[in-house]
């Protein structure tokens, strides 16, 4: 099979065109009306598959800051942080993140993906070990591959399995970076951080926590799982993204280790890319302030999450292990998942469809993400639609 034929084979597997003529992947959104509504084709659709957890994508303060930054600094930086792209806004945002996390320093990356890629590949290398949760995001896998370290997976959230693998490493556990996530994007469950910290300390390893989905969602000020569990000082490196609760694009790593700053000089995903645009940085700085003071938004978010999770469970859907803004329904096979996804879209609800191999253990998922801007009426409509479709598709 030549190079292009391999792509043809992948295309054949993907050809899951829906009765509506819309593909489940890369669905064209024509207009965005608000954090919860958009136009797909000619339909006004309720958005239930975004990562806009605090509903800040249209926050007037963020939009105003972005407009002002474009007027003052232009549309792009056209260069790396290591060259001409190191503006005062980038440095100010780093200081604000460091202060938010009460950490010594922060590095801002151009995307969340690159934050993991750059941090992981800068921290470990050939001869070291990356010990990662089996359900880790692709950016974690790719960062580990880029690093050249040995990559070892442990079973998702299985602490006995993590300990077994640390024990097998012997002295190499000291050169091991354990990588976990605050909230896992597929099933919406949280890492058992206290147990992970105990193991990390017992085996003298280093811990990286990715708060991509937990920033803004967990903890008193929205720092994430480390804050919620009061274990921030025990986590060596925290990464995260601007593209979810902060409604921008970019990523960060914070740490108390002074060595973090050295990553700027060794991390290719930091060096060899243009820095985030002035508008992105300006909007993110304002969004971070809103996030820190966003207790009311978090309360609404969690009300919505619990309402949907408990309803789906009550109806009979197999859902993730615990309630949270990511509410995943686990279906018996890809056809059933596709039918449910399509049924929801016919009822003007957009959610995410995740088919093997993207979902863990070959599962097929219809994944909802609620946000603070959803009204209880919108969530109720979603609940009723899921109930109706359970009878026609699942039973």
């Amino acid at each position: 099979m030549n190079l292009l034929e391999k792509l043809d084979a992948a295309a054949a597997a993907r050809k899951a065109q829906l009765p509506t003529g819309l593909s489940a992947f890369g669905i064209p959104i024509e207009e965005i009306y608000s954090p919860t509504e958009a136009r797909i084709g000619e339909r006004r659709i309720l958005l239930l598959g975004t990562n806009n957890y605090l509903g800040l994508s249209f926050a007037p303060e963020c939009r105003e800051a972005a407009h002002e930054a474009i007027d003052k600094e232009g549309t792009g930086t056209t260069g790396s942080r290591m060259a001409n792209g190191n503006y005062s806004g980038h440095r100010a945002l780093e200081m604000e993140f460091a202060e938010f996390y009460q950490c010594r320093s922060c590095i801002v990356f151009t995307t969340g993906y690159q934050a993991n890629l750059g941090t992981i590949s800068g921290l470990i290398g050939t001869g070291d070990v990356a010990l990662i949760d089996g359900d880790s995001h692709a950016s974690i896998y790719d960062g580990c591959i880029l690093s050249g370290a040995d990559i070892i997976r442990f079973r998702h959230n299985d602490m006995a399995d993590l300990e077994k693998r640390l024990r097998r490493l012997g002295d190499r556990s000291k050169n091991t970076l354990i990588i976990v996530e605050g909230i896992y994007s597929m099933l919406g469950d949280q890492a058992p951080l206290a147990e992970i910290v105990n193991l990390k300390n017992a085996y003298s390893s280093t811990l990286l926590l990715d708060e991509a989905h937990s920033l803004g969602v967990l903890g008193e000020t929205g720092q994430g799982l480390a804050e919620k569990t009061k274990l921030s000082s025990e986590v060596d490196f925290i990464t995260g993204t601007f593209s979810k609760s902060l409604c921008g694009i970019g990523g960060y790593c914070v740490s108390n280790h002074p060595q973090l700053d050295q990553l700027r000089y060794v991390s290719h995903p930091y060096i060899f890319t243009a820095s985030p645009s002035p508008a992105t940085i300006a909007a993110t700085r304002v969004a971070l302030r809103l996030l820190r003071n966003g207790n009311k938004l978090r309360e609404q978010l969690w009300r919505n999450a619990r309402q949907l999770y408990s309803h789906l469970k009550m109806v009979g859907y197999q859902v993730g292990p615990e309630p949270g803004p990511v509410v995943a329904t686990i279906l018996g096979n890809p056809q059933q998942a596709l039918a449910l996804w399509n049924g929801l879209l016919e009822n003007n609800i957009y959610v995410n469809l995740i088919l093997p191999p993207a979902a863990p253990e070959g599962k097929s998922l219809v994944r909802c993400s609620v946000n603070a801007a959803h009204t209880s009426e919108q969530i109720e409509y979603v609940c009723q639609t899921f109930s109706k479709l359970y009878t026609s598709i699942i039973q």
């Binding site: 070990v129 089996g134 591959i145 990559i151 097998r168 191999p357």
Partner: protein, 85 residues
């Protein structure tokens, strides 16, 4: 601890991989894991975790890039097992 040699590993692997084969298919050291047994990336990752527990070793994912046949996998397990003594 009971010593295990490369042939024992190969034999164990052939027995374990029989579940991926159709009824007429014989598993040999030369059997290709992907083209003949249709072991996709997810099945392979699950299989690796199972083998790690069986042999009490850790198999780095990056070591799998050179694994094509049953023999390659047995050889990798043997090398890791030998180095972990």
């Amino acid at each position: 601890m009971v010593e295990i040699n490369q042939e024992d590993i190969l034999e164990l692997l052939c027995r374990r991989l029989a579940s991926f084969a159709n009824t007429e298919q014989e598993i040999t050291p030369e059997t290709n894991l992907i083209t003949q047994l249709a072991i996709d990336s997810i099945k392979l990752l699950n299989l690796i975790m199972e083998l790690e527990d069986n042999f009490d070793i850790s198999i780095p994912l990056n070591a799998l890039t050179d694994v094509v046949t049953v023999y390659d996998l047995a050889n990798l397990i043997y090398r890791i097992k030998s180095n972990s003594k």
